[in-house]
Symmetry: C2
Subunit: 488 residues, 2 copies
């Protein structure tokens, strides 16, 4: 396969003013705003990585508008960055300079709730929380949930394959999608708006587009699965003596709780001690100290029976010594108090300016050893560093926070390199749920081998041959070479 | 994008004898058997569509062997058909003539069960039932299950995204995969053998390869998710008065059964009456007749509590009149007796030689009307036709059987056209779980629009530019043209 560059930002023909005039002429002033007229509008995501301002902003009102806009940019050789709620953490929606921004903000309709089929059909710019509310109003649940729910959009959730706290029970964003509509770089519309759970009719394009971070197509609409709404949630806070007990509790709970496990959030003492000391208003769920803390949640269908089962499971784990101490939430207020301890990272940017955060993935069997090795390694190199470790254990997702007062300017690069090298050594993922974007592009090869990256480049070239959609994100500039057997 | 043909079988250089000699020289007699030496070995799947014999059979012992074989065939321009357990129903593994067959039968190892991570790692030629047994021996469950379990292989299950009876609870084959290893047409190995549930590091190639029916790559190994093994299964047979009651039962059961619904098999009277009359050894689960019959199954974690919940759900449905009559299995023998009625289609090929079978998908809301319209339409055109209707309702998957004694030779083509036209009119899927293969290729456009097919062709050309992997399957010979806005 040819080694065409697919990472560098291509240059459009003509001056920025020319470009804006051509966009305005073709698409009209309702859809196109010149960069100079955008005022203080924000164009960067939450990653903290630098982002340029767009040459122009296109705000389509329909899929046909998106198609016309992309077909035009394709003819002009003009790169485009797609923007949703701008809540990403990997710089995937940021501009590098010279691009047009395409925002889906005007395509935010919730088009249909079909309670019999258990589906909701929305435009890509729909805010996640609005989708959750529409499902709730129909007596069901849209289970994807994350902290940015009030700002993030379904299009962004799908483009980045968003995760969150309830993946262990309901899966990632990709597992919520039944149908998708998307527009390719040249304006071709893919109309796969189906409602079928089973549909083995050719390649599953939606699964390729989900998680491709705006580099392969613009997702414009989707049909999503709804889940039954649980009658309630059972919540407990547990203290455990060692990592083997943590995985034993996970497996025992999954096997013995009728409703399964909807959250299994693990916190290491580094995290627990820090947030109780520094984050205002938190109360310790237990008055004892442990090697690991677990926030366990299970959905209940029958409040009384499932609560009895929940108590049985914790009783058995306590009697086996797997759990040293536990507190079961007896009210929503108790559960909220437990979750507040887990949700404390929302305060970290204020408490630890310049913090370095990681979103890495490993097999569940490895996480205990990886976390210990990671904290030991960081403290050996930076003795005064604050490190906090927590994660979604059942999903193999570890979050590590590193912070140093009076940090040297290149600290983030050094810590990134150290943690991602460790990730590679453990055959882990450099991005469990946040995506690669621009921030982790240099480390993609730590998780994906040359053959996989080679195939990704081939697909990118096939669907976006001029490299106009979100150029420079996810993939390195040039496809890696692979050794072929017998090719000499 | 250029309109290169990607459906016709390409012709290799040289004579078949030349080819065999080159394969033997390069790969050795252990891996390569000439077509003439294959004796009575079967090379066709279970679809009933015609299949040619291979020019040669390659049976690799390792991924490196697969890579060497494909690199060689790539240099020779030699098309290859990948074969697993040959249990497919769409002709996807059949040969058209002139191809080499690549069988994964020697790569059948179960390499590792990791109970802590909840994973099993296998080679593609591993038989599904062996994988289920290995999971069971580790105290867990591999939930994918289908009638062909004793013959089908994991590689084939993944290549076709196999479904089955328990998709409603555990998902299709694609939802069981965490990691994959595959070889592209030119011999490039993609090494994505991860164990992480969350891994947003670039395009999800495994989700593209799963369901691509051997046209994009040869899957060689996979790491699969294991589920907790339920303590038991609760099973009931229900009779219902109308379709609204069927969907009401589905939603009520999903919301109120703590363990959820692991099977929701719906049988129409046409099916029920036929099998009780014609299939030996079946006993009617109820002595009353109804407009719909449902086999409902729910996994139990706590035998006593979950059984009480199951009775409560059925009690409520009976008192509301949603269920007219029901029988709860009080033993494994009862449950087996209920399942025997649902598993009767295994006898159909003997009872109805030349039967025409359909595996179509619709939204759950539409299935009642589609099924009625389909039977009415078939009986209007062919008054003596036997039609049987049943399906996996929660997955939107309908099976329709049509049979006519003394059928004219072109009956299958006529019935196909009529049923697939109806499928298109209801925006359904021409293949819910069996795949497109060669049998339904002409109808792919009934479910996937020109834009989607255009993208599929582009991906096929990107990963297999010489069209050597399973040529002529899934995709029509030439990519459809799409209208681009403003392109004049």
């Amino acid at each position: 396969m040819s080694e065409v560059s697919s990472g560098a930002v291509p240059a459009a023909q003509g001056s920025p003013a020319d470009l804006v005039r051509q966009l305005l002429d073709a698409l009209g002033a309702d859809l196109v705003t010149a960069g100079a007229d955008l005022g203080t509008r924000r164009h960067c995501d939450w990653s903290g990585t630098p982002g340029a301002d767009p040459v122009a902003l296109i705000r389509p009102r329909s899929t046909a508008d998106v198609s016309r806009a992309l077909a035009l940019c394709h003819r002009l050789g003009q790169p485009v960055v797609i923007q949703g709620g701008l809540t990403g953490l990997a710089g995937g929606a940021n501009l590098r300079g010279g691009e047009v921004a395409l925002s889906l903000e005007r395509m935010s309709a919730i088009e249909e709730v079909d309670p019999v089929s258990g589906t909701i059909t929305v435009q890509a710019g729909a805010i996640l929380q609005r989708v959750q509310e529409a499902a709730d109003a129909a007596g069901m649940m849209f289970p994807l949930d994350l902290g940015a729910r009030g700002s993030c959009t379904i299009g962004g959730n799908l483009a980045t394959n968003a995760g969150g706290n309830r993946v262990i029970r309901y899966g990632m964003a990709r597992e919520q999608v039944l149908g998708i509509e998307a527009v390719l770089a040249d304006g071709t519309v893919i109309g796969d708006m189906h409602k079928m759970v089973k549909n083995n009719s050719g390649y599953d394009l939606k699964q390729l587009l989900v998680g491709s971070e705006g580099t392969l197509a613009v997702i414009t609409r989707a049909t999503l699965k709804l889940a039954p709404r649980p009658a309630g949630l059972l919540t407990a806070w547990c203290g455990l003596p060692d990592y083997a007990s943590v995985t034993r509790l996970l497996h025992y709970a999954r096997a013995h709780l009728s409703g399964g496990v909807s959250a299994f959030e693990v916190m290491w003492p580094s995290y627990y001690d820090y947030v109780l000391e520094h984050v205002r208003g938190l109360r310790a769920p237990l008055d004892t100290r442990h090697a690991y803390y677990v926030l366990l949640e299970s959905p209940a269908s029958d409040a009384e029976r499932d609560a009895a089962g929940f108590e049985d499971v914790l009783g058995e784990m306590l009697s086996e010594g797997v759990v040293e101490n536990a507190s079961i939430a007896s009210s929503n207020a108790d559960a909220a108090r437990f979750w507040a301890v887990r949700d404390a990272p929302a305060e970290f940017p204020v408490l630890m300016p310049g913090l370095i955060g990681f979103d890495i993935g490993f097999s569940t069997a490895d996480i205990g050893a990886v976390a210990a090795q990671c904290e030991t390694m960081l403290h050996a190199r930076w003795p005064d560093m604050t490190t906090l470790v927590y994660g979604h254990l059942g999903d193999g997702n570890l979050h590590v926070i590193a912070h140093l007062d009076d940090a040297p300017p290149d600290l983030a690069e050094q810590v990134d390199e150290a943690v991602y090298d460790l990730t590679r050594a453990w055959r882990g993922s450099v991005s469990a749920e946040h995506g690669i974007g621009s921030k982790k592009r240099a480390y993609l090869g730590h998780t994906r081998d040359a053959g996989a990256r080679h195939a990704m480049h081939a697909i990118k070239r096939a669907l976006d041959p001029a490299n106009l959609l979100n150029p420079g994100k996810v993939l390195e500039p040039v496809s890696p070479s692979v050794d072929l057997p017998g090719a000499s």
